[in-house]
Symmetry: C2
Subunit: 346 residues, 2 copies
């Protein structure tokens, strides 16, 4: 919802590469296709290769669910929180919500003839990534507010659903919702089958995610925490509505994630899953509280089948959290090695 | 959490009576004791007298849960929201959270010798309701911030649990948690047994309620929406903590209730339950959206067994919402007539 949440710690130069979609989408190699395997109780994570990563997940779930185990956790307290971008679905070459904002600018342009000559809209319409980046955080915020506010919550939900049904990822030529990671979708289901309540805790916009998370991840709207703008209750023509205001309400990223978890969920998770420095504080909050806890980092190591990036990427940067993972014995997924299959369409 | 949320629309004169606890607690008549009846599938609401109110509840639940009914609602969308003070438990002679704040001032006074000579603390310590009221909304806010912030979330939870275990209501001489309305507790269970997800949506402090709502109402912390203060994530001695700041975050009352429902739950309820004008917008948001919906107002009509108040009370005022109930065909509970039994301890 905010430039910070969408593009954490972004320098002007880095923003260029964020928005320079055509420069990055070179790697169009066909990912290797693994045989589809059904999820069963004997084989709950068929898209995960055997090895220490998968075993760490299985061991943790066994320990906290076995009655009489010293690590047993009652079902009501089995809260698991998942980052979204880069953890549950693809975040490169740009955050999907940013693609949505750019798409909305194009769709709304006929009603805003002045955008042809006004930044950041001019740059967005012309696909001029460099000029767009030069408008900086201020420009990105203007873009977000113009495309995400000024309508009712019901109207915005329809806009999101229409866009997400029609839009296609530039590399995979698939709807974005098909770019959910199959191993993580299996993991969500495996945790729920073991009495966990699964939540999304994302820097992305809460109302951008809620319309489709139940269908894609099995996570209902009331279990989605994210960044938000303010809304206003009003009666119009005798009908109540919530109007979306161009005013930030909450940024659910970095130190905001534990704050959001406490405010929206009100319990401390016992397992947390992320992929970047934006998830560091959520994993600290989850795992550094005594008792058997589980922290997991998805490390993007597979340029052929997906993307490879960590310390030097312009966004979704995994640097401090990778060091913290070693220190705190969090489990690090080596995507190339640990995931037999990445997408359901493979 | 805020004076507005605790004491909606309160004038200085009215605040006097809010805080004038000894002046109001005159009615100590022993409530009539009804025979205890077990909740069964044949008799899911044993503490409700037969009549149109109970029938309206049963009819609504039957209509939205019967497959093939034109009013059928899938389980995932069966969201029901309940106000807390005056709807699920007693709110007179003062909001329980205000009693908590006054109790905290007394407990903290030894560490704050200056409070003996500083308002609003002096008045709170001396039990001088008039002087306390004269400090106005500003004074009440100072009282709330001094007693609700300046500690970690874990510490605050312990403080709330300790207080709620020890404190007693001045009239009934019972722990406040025993002043939950048995008919409403049955109703919460009846809805859950019919696939509803039950939420509390209260003007009270979210972290004041969460420590005990699961035990008392069967509503887990992640299904409690309320007013809140800001918190800050920090590491102290290598441990992560959330520190409670003296800064309002959200007021979940009046127009704030639909806003809070949208932000925290992300779905529109199909049933809402309240007792005062602070619930008006929540009931409008819930019921005025097409489809079979249910709105219910608890009308306090029983001075002998509980309290009787509506349009002329200083807080928990039921005025505009009572007019709206007639207009919108919301169900109004006549506490004296409709509730066979009010408390579990009777």
């Amino acid at each position: 919802m905010s430039p910070k949440a969408l593009i954490p710690g972004l320098s002007r130069r880095q923003m260029l590469s964020v928005l320079a979609l055509p420069l990055i989408s070179g790697s169009l190699l066909r990912p290797e296709v693994a045989s589809a395997q059904a999820v069963t109780s004997d084989n709950p994570l068929p898209s995960w290769n055997d090895g220490p990563t998968k075993q760490a997940i299985l061991d943790f779930v066994a320990a906290v669910t076995r009655e009489g185990s010293p690590d047993f956790v009652p079902p009501a307290e089995r809260i698991a929180t998942f980052d979204n971008d880069g953890t549950l679905w693809v975040e490169h070459p740009m955050y999907t919500q940013l693609a949505f904002a750019l798409g909305r600018v194009k769709a709304m342009a006929p009603m805003h003839p002045e955008w042809k000559d006004t930044q950041p809209f001019k740059a967005a319409l012309e696909g001029d990534a460099r000029a767009l980046a030069e408008t900086g955080e201020h420009g990105l915020m203007a873009l977000l507010m113009a495309t995400h506010t000024g309508m009712t919550t019901d109207e915005f939900q329809t806009i999101v659903l229409d866009w997400i049904a029609a839009a296609r990822d530039p590399r995979f030529k698939r709807p974005y919702t098909e770019l959910a990671y199959l191993p993580m979708v299996e993991l969500l289901g495996f945790l729920r089958a073991n009495g966990f309540k699964t939540f999304i805790v994302s820097g992305g916009g809460i109302e951008f995610m809620r319309p489709w998370t139940e269908r894609v991840y099995g996570v209902p709207p009331e279990q989605v925490v994210g960044s938000s703008i303010k809304t206003k209750f009003q009666m119009r023509d005798g009908k109540p509505e919530l109007f979306r205001l161009p005013d930030l309400n909450f940024i659910d990223d970095n130190v905001g994630k534990p704050v959001g978890i406490n405010e929206y969920i009100g319990r401390r998770p016992i397992a947390a899953f992320g992929n970047s420095d934006g998830d560091l504080e959520m994993l600290q909050w989850t795992t550094m509280a005594g008792g058997r806890r589980f922290g997991l980092i998805v490390h993007h190591t597979d340029a052929e089948r997906e993307y490879a990036y960590d310390r030097d990427t312009s966004f979704g940067r995994l640097d401090k959290a990778l060091d913290a993972a070693a220190l705190n014995r969090w489990t690090v997924v080596d995507m190339k090695k640990d995931w037999k299959r990445i997408f359901a369409f493979e």
